[in-house]
């Protein structure tokens, strides 16, 4: 065992020692710890250690009890009856380790999963932003080209700030990723280009140094950064002299002028921002960031505003309507029909376009976790009921001897409270494990940033709440039942008396039905997700994924002019082509099935259904030979070649089949013209049509895609794609070496095979299917356990009756059937409820599925069969035991 693990065990044991009287602990505590840890160190495996722990627990409770009693008898305080009951309850639990461990494990799983999910949902949906008077903060969005509130051009945010009677301040901020040459080497960090008004709008202030001044709002001013509180601690080691330090971002020196407010993680909660960069630092992001500050066509900025005193959201909205009208007049080709919308900050979580999905996901997760908790509690209640009934004799004796009924009920409640406390504590530990494992999951790709998760006071509070609720709720039922037990009947009848209690039977049956229904729903959803995933994995991406390796390069630090980068791209392509094992090489600005850049284009002779005269379409900048390298068939016209040169009469375009279909239908697309939004000339001419590839994701409907030649485009492709004669993975190292030897200033930012990349784009559905699978397995186990408990209980209580039946010559398999039949009705009801719930809820998951119907009959039948198999096994095991029992034994026992 490692030293830190041993230390954790040691500390836990020290906690346990607190049960002893102080004098004893002081005299022997150290040696006892030494003894325990020595044994622990020698213990071979996990199980030996667990046994050791269990014995230590038992040993402590027993001896501490004796020592406390001795102390108090020696003239100390008289023990209160509550303490006595407590000790009694603890002793009972210690004496039944299987029951105790089982119950604690059930609660831990239920509470742990629910708390972890709460923490996630809290971070994503619930937790209010840490701003001052957030009700006065609003989000302002210009529409995208398809008429949805989206994001703003930088000039537009400056126009908004002119409405001083509406807004006390307006801030613009744009998230981006840059490479930091820090102590850990080259690291990608999340930044926001942010204006000087930001802190005032949020009503916060930096904790060290200062925030940006208006001099930072124009290009030409000093490069300045404010580091976020989290990044200051995690990335800069909490350096107290951080203000004034210089960091290298994308190769540019940027001065840190302040440390952000403690609780502010970034603009888009709960994504983490490492640095806020001033607008004057725009060159750090590249020439495009400098250009975008003047371009009304680009919408790269989010806008936040603080309402002036007494101004309502509606008033601000009408002011923005006026601004939108002004824009439409001044810049008709860009802003006609483009509305500006004001949202109260409580109505926006991450972004108006994504919030609905986020809430649905959160609700789905929370529902799942609660289902598991309900299942766990249902089982615990069952276990407690079984124990409670088994003890009805004991309780009746206590009552008969004069114990007040409240006292008897208190014993039960104490027991369940102790169980709930232990389960809650273990659940919190589990929560921390789950949350620690979460960042390793590819959530980042889905959300576009790093998530801040942790066990904070709110999470602990929720866990405590769940704990007490479960403890009281499910301790109370058996407690009240037992306290009510008719003394004389219970004593006369001992065990059988209570089992015929109709209420108890009904309660147990309902619990089993609920569990069966819930597990059926979970198994169904798992089945649907698995089938959907299987369908996604067989999707043809439209490229020859199996033979292609890619290396992504970062040109920023090379500092090349446009002409130089075009030459560099050709040079790099030629160098990689000489490597052994390379069949074709091309560069591209995007990978398949990865959402990336879009361009706003006008197509000659095509009118979009609504909105402006332009359409927003994804594009790729590729070199010659790209279609050969990727194995994308050319359907008409030609691919790019030496003839496509810069500065000529126009720009050549290759379009995907879906694009050709959308704009020109069955007509010949070759020779059709297009232009960038707002351009005068129809300068872009279609020269070729290629087959469709997955553009944004695998399994999407064929999406239009435009290709530009790298020789004619202003952008520089970053993905070097090599088609291998053999294993593509073997090309990665030589490619990297070649690039490093060629130009050390050109950095490699990612690499892999195309097949692996496509696989990784399925990470989210795969994760969903696995998580759901884990949940349903758990639910199945719980439901099985529930059925097993109920049947074995029934069998035990009816052992004499069954014994008589067998003695009188009843067929043993008939006895099994009889017992199983009793629970079969309950299981059947559960299945019907489950199918109904699943059918009603199917429409809600339908959007998340691919290639399988939400009401897919095969999955439904399969799930029902799985449930039946589990239920049958769980019922058959105890029933068979009953039928095998010796009738004489069974009769004598009663």
């Amino acid at each position: 065992m490692t030293a830190p693990r041993l230390e954790a065990h040691r500390r836990a044991f020290c906690l346990l020692l607190r049960l002893y009287p102080k004098w004893f602990r002081q005299a022997y505590g150290e040696e006892m710890t030494l003894l325990f840890t020595t044994r622990l160190e020698r213990a071979g495996g996990r199980w030996t250690r667990a046994i050791l722990w269990w014995r230590a627990l038992e040993d402590t409770v027993r001896n501490a009890t004796v020592l406390h009693r001795d102390d108090s008898e020696g003239g100390g305080l008289r023990m209160g009856s509550l303490t006595q009951d407590m000790r009694y309850a603890v002793r009972r639990l210690v004496r039944a380790p299987v029951f105790t461990l089982g119950a604690v494990a059930l609660l831990a799983v239920g509470i742990g999963a629910t708390t972890a999910v709460f923490s996630l949902v809290d971070a994503l949906i619930l937790r209010p932003p840490p701003w001052h008077e957030p009700e006065r903060v609003v989000h302002v969005y210009q529409d995208s080209d398809d008429g949805q509130p989206s994001s703003n051009s930088f000039p537009a945010t400056r126009d908004m700030a002119e409405y001083g009677e509406m807004f006390e301040g307006v801030a613009a901020t744009a998230p981006w990723t840059v490479t930091w040459d820090g102590p850990a080497g080259l690291t990608p960090v999340d930044v926001e280009f942010t204006t000087s008004g930001y802190m005032h709008v949020l009503g916060l202030d930096v904790q060290r140094g200062r925030w940006f001044e208006p001099e930072h709002d124009v290009v030409g001013g000093p490069f300045a950064a404010v580091v976020s509180a989290a990044a200051w601690r995690s990335r800069l080691g909490g350096d107290p002299d951080v203000v004034g330090r210089t960091v290298q971002l994308n190769g540019f020196p940027v001065t840190i002028i302040g440390v952000g407010p403690e609780r502010l993680t970034g603009t888009v909660n709960p994504l983490l921002t490492d640095f806020w960069l001033s607008i004057s630092s725009a060159p750090v992001g590249g020439p495009a960031w400098v250009g975008t500050l003047e371009r009304r066509e680009d919408h790269w900025f989010l806008a936040l505003a603080r309402l002036a005193s007494g101004v309502t959201v509606a008033q601000a909205q009408s002011a923005m309507d006026a601004l939108a009208a002004r824009h439409a007049e001044l810049y008709p080709e860009i802003d006609r029909g483009r509305d500006i919308t004001v949202f109260a900050s409580r109505d926006v979580r991450m972004h108006p376009q994504g919030d609905a999905q986020l809430r649905l996901g959160g609700a789905l997760l929370a529902g799942l976790a609660l289902t598991v908790l309900v299942l766990a509690c249902a089982n615990l209640a069952n276990l407690l009921l079984v124990r409670g009934l088994g003890r009805s004799g004991e309780m009746a004796v206590r009552s008969a001897l004069g114990a007040p009924k409240g006292r008897v009920a208190r014993l039960f409640l104490l027991e369940s409270a102790i169980l709930a406390a232990m389960g809650g504590a273990a659940g919190l530990v589990l929560t921390r494990w789950i949350l620690a494992a979460l960042p390793a999951l590819p959530l980042d790709d889905t959300l576009g940033g790093t998530l801040e998760l942790g066990v904070d006071a709110r999470v602990v509070l929720v866990a405590l709440g769940l704990m007490s609720a479960t403890g009281v709720l499910f301790g109370l039922a058996p407690a009240m039942r037992s306290a009510r037990t008719d003394v004389s009947r219970a004593l006369r009848d001992d065990r059988r008396g209570a089992s015929s209690d109709r209420g108890t039977i009904r309660l147990r049956s309902v619990l089993v039905a609920v569990q069966v229904a819930a597990s059926l729903v979970l198994v169904l959803v798992t089945g649907l997700l698995a089938r959907s995933l299987a369908a996604l994995q067989t999707v043809d991406p439209g490229v020859d994924a199996e033979r292609i390796a890619y290396v992504q390069v970062d040109w920023t630090r090379a500092g090349l002019s446009l002409a130089e980068s075009r030459a560099a791209v050709e040079e790099l392509r030629a160098r990689i082509a000489t490597l052994p094992g390379v069949e074709h090489v091309a560069l591209s600005s995007r990978l398949p099935a990865l959402p990336q850049g879009t361009t706003t284009t006008e197509v000659e002779g095509y009118t979009p259904p609504a909105g402006t005269n332009a359409v927003e379409l994804p594009f790729a900048i590729v070199t010659d030979g790209y279609f050969d390298a990727m194995g994308v068939p050319l359907l008409a016209g030609r691919g790019f070649s030496q003839d496509d040169v810069a500065g000529g009469s126009g720009v050549s375009i290759v379009v995907s089949e879906a694009a050709a279909q959308r704009f020109w239908g069955d007509a010949d697309p070759i020779g059709r013209r297009m232009r960038g939004q707002g351009a005068q000339e129809w300068s872009r001419t279609v020269v070729g049509v290629v087959a469709d590839v997955s553009v944004g994701s695998l399994g999407e409907a064929p999406a239009p895609l435009f290709y530009f030649s790298a020789r004619q485009s202003l952008g520089t492709p970053t993905y070097v794609l090599a088609r291998a004669t053999g294993d593509p993975a073997a090309l990665l190292a030589p490619m990297r070496r070649e690039i490093g030897a060629w130009r050390p200033s050109v950095l490699v930012s990612s690499q892999g095979t195309l097949a692996a990349h496509l696989g990784s784009t399925l990470a989210a559905p795969r994760l969903a299917a696995r998580a759901m699978g884990a949940f349903s397995l758990l639910a199945l186990l719980l439901a099985g356990l529930g059925i097993y408990t109920v049947v074995s209980f029934t069998v035990a209580r009816r052992s004499s009756e069954l014994g008589i039946r067998i003695a009188l010559g009843a067929d043993r398999s008939g006895v099994v059937r009889m017992v199983v039949r009793e629970v079969a009705t309950v299981v059947g009801i559960g299945l019907v409820i489950g199918v109904l719930v699943a059918a009603l809820g199917a429409s809600r998951v339908g959007d998340a599925l691919f290639g399988v119907d939400a009401l897919d009959p095969i999955t439904f039948v399969g799930a029902v069969l799985v449930l039946l198999a589990v239920a049958w096994l769980a019922a058959w095991l105890p029933a068979r035991r009953a039928a095998r029992a010796d009738p004489v034994e069974a009769l004598r026992a009663s």
């Binding site: 005299a27 022997y28 150290e30 040696e31 006892m32 014995r55 040993d59 402590t60 001896n63 004796v66």
Partner: protein, 116 residues
């Protein structure tokens, strides 16, 4: 402080008997006693930390054993060593005699399996 009356009277609790017996071979610390007892009883007696130190505390108070300096200078200073007292030896002898008589009686009644 009042103690359980039977911690040092005949018949001895098995724990007390084993502790005394293990100290006959020389002074030992707590862990040593626990291990010796476990070995002697062929694993039947396993002394948990609480049971061991509560018994040691009671036995020291009853004068059956006493805490002593460690016999070797290089011993772990955190570990307290125990030595059996004459009273402890006396009690151990009497209990062993009683057990011996008990075994004789048992044998006379044919309680031991006949050797083949």
């Amino acid at each position: 402080m009042a103690r359980a009356p039977d911690s040092h009277s005949i018949p001895l609790r098995p724990v007390v008997y084993h502790i005394l017996l293990s100290l006959m071979g020389g002074d030992r610390h707590g862990l040593g006693i626990a291990e010796h007892a476990e070995r002697m009883s062929e694993g039947a007696v396993e002394l948990g930390p609480g049971t061991l130190y509560r018994s040691l505390s009671e036995m020291a108070e009853a004068g059956l054993i006493e805490a002593v300096r460690s016999p070797r200078p290089d011993a772990d200073p955190r570990r307290k060593y125990y030595s059996i007292t004459s009273r402890g030896r006396d009690l151990l002898a009497r209990e062993t005699e009683r057990l011996g008589r008990l075994v004789d009686t048992a044998r006379a009644h044919g309680a031991l399996a006949e050797k083949a």
